[in-house]
């Protein structure tokens, strides 16, 4: 169902970050530069609903559950990458 790339099981932060950026780029204007330190709300102009929609994309891409209370602690792409990595590890 993913139109961006196949579901991978990356074990390196760089890969996860790269995949997150690929998923994110579908939700922001084409050509917008996304760095790992980019603040998802402030720098990329996503409103609260758009961020939650993006989180659903991330859940589907990595086949994980990313509850909204954990998303509340996420500010940057890097934070999100760490959260995803932890969830992938939990899953084993």
């Amino acid at each position: 169902m993913d139109r961006l790339s196949g579901v991978g099981l990356p074990n390196q932060t760089d890969n996860i970050e790269g995949e997150i950026i690929a998923v994110l780029s579908a939700r922001i204007p084409a050509g917008t530069e996304i760095s790992p330190n980019a603040k998802i709300a402030r720098d990329l102009g996503l409103d609260s609903v758009a961020i939650m929609d993006f989180v659903m994309d991330i859940e589907d891409h990595f086949d994980i559950s990313l509850p909204l209370d954990r998303v509340a602690e996420v500010e940057t792409v890097e934070d999100l990458s760490r959260a995803v990595e932890a969830l992938l590890k939990d899953r084993g």
Binding site: D47, M52, D53, M56, E59, I64, S65, L68, D69
Partner: protein, 409 residues
């Protein structure tokens, strides 16, 4: 650096909005004349954005009951049910609501917002999972924040997506609670409740349905979408409001689960707020009796919904497929939606302007709601004004089929 600096972005968005015309969040009516008409800035306007689905706000029986209740029991209860006592009106209203929904128990809350806040945040505890439709009302989101449970959104009206998200939770302890709405307040679409109920049964979850906009409107007995879809047995909790079809204020939850009444001593938004005043309890009681016995009201709001929907569809507006009392016109961009809304008010029709992030999928909407109290002539007049204004502002393009007045057959 002010305490309000965190709202700088909101401040500039709000300034842009109000510079373009009126403040849509601060509309002040000089006088409400009836469920369908008001005076605004000295001018007569048609009300098409009230959620007054059954037009009962001026119902003579409800008004008489309200006035009598004030004389008998006073203007307010001055406290909460648990600390300051239950009035007989609260108890009989709860009994009546349970009966209306054919349920074992009912609990009354002071607002519909608090009903969702209280029920959902209390039921979903630590270790549980709450699965909410992505287009849920703010009260459901706020309930989720207040709850200690983990919150997962599922894609709007997508039972397969819900199932996929439930499967991801397999093996984790705790209860799963699904929350959806009968009729969604922004786009006016209904939930695929039969399919959601099937997922609920298969996955062993609880199901809460918010019938705030569908009570009195859908189902033979007016119980909402669950009744219309024939899945009431699968719905563990129905939440609703007295502020729409019942024309007052307040909220409720009903259930058949035996321990439901425990909520009265654990649900903080129920416990720590003043209870509904006697006048409100009395008018709600009267209006509930009316909708339980008068099938014509529901039939009339449905006929009016079809008339408004078909009129706007024929004019060529981008609206949803379902003819429900909420019809949302999708507008290409925010600026155009703001201009359109202002122009409609200038021409005497009041609708609701809905902008992101209060709307799904970043949509800008002009939202209308129709009432059983609207006459066919009022609906046709509103459709004609909305269509004419739509052409003038370019909301409707050349390709749209121009309609003649009256709009509907």
């Amino acid at each position: 650096m002010s305490i309000f600096s965190k709202f700088d972005d909101i401040r500039s968005a709000f300034a842009a909005l109000t510079n373009a015309g009126r403040n849509p969040f601060g509309i002040r009516f000089d006088k409400i004349l009836s469920p369908t008409e008001a005076i605004l800035d000295g001018r007569h306007i048609l009300l098409f954005g009230t959620n007054n689905y059954l037009g009962l706000t001026f119902d003579p029986m409800a008004i008489t009951a309200s006035v009598e209740a004030i004389h008998e029991a006073g203007t307010g209860t001055t406290g909460s049910r648990i600390a300051n006592g239950t009035y007989s009106g609260h108890a009989s209203l709860e009994h009546q609501i349970a009966e209306f929904f054919g349920r074992r128990s009912a609990m009354v809350f002071t607002t519909g917002y608090q009903a969702n806040l209280g029920l959902i945040s209390t039921l979903a505890g630590r270790g549980d999972h709450l699965l909410i439709d992505a287009d849920s009302h703010a009260s459901i989101y706020d309930a989720s924040k207040l709850s200690a449970a983990e919150i997962i959104r599922f894609r709007h009206n997508d039972p397969r997506d819900l199932e996929r998200r439930l499967r991801r939770l397999e093996g984790q302890p705790g209860s799963r609670i699904i929350v959806t709405e009968g009729l969604f307040s922004m786009l006016g679409d209904t939930a695929p409740l039969r399919e959601i109920a099937a997922v609920k049964r298969e996955m062993g979850a609880y199901l809460i349905v918010d019938e705030a906009h569908s009570m009195g409107v859908m189902g033979k007995k007016g119980r909402g979408l669950a009744e219309a879809a024939g899945v009431e047995a699968d719905v563990d909790f129905v939440v609703g409001t007295f502020s729409k079809s019942l024309g007052a204020i307040g909220g409720f939850a009903v259930s058949d689960l035996p321990d439901f009444d425990l909520l009265r001593v654990v649900c903080r938004p129920y416990m720590f707020t003043a209870s509904l005043p006697p006048a409100i309890v009395a008018s709600v009681t009267a209006s509930l009796r009316r909708i339980a016995t008068d099938n014509l009201l529901g039939a009339r709001v449905q006929a009016n919904s079809r008339r408004l929907h078909s009129g706007l569809a024929k004019a060529g507006f981008d609206i949803g497929a379902e003819a429900n009392p909420i019809v949302a016109i999708r507008i290409a961009n925010r600026g155009l939606a703001i201009r359109f809304w202002n122009a409609l008010l200038d021409r005497g029709v009041y609708l609701n302007l809905a902008l992101p992030p209060a709307t799904p999928a970043s949509l800008s909407l002009i939202r209308s709601s129709v009432s059983a109290a609207h006459t066919e002539a009022q609906i046709d007049r509103a459709v004609s004004i909305i269509a004419d204004t739509g052409y003038e502002l370019g909301v409707l393009g050349e390709s749209s089929s121009r309609i003649a007045v009256p709009a509907a057959e």
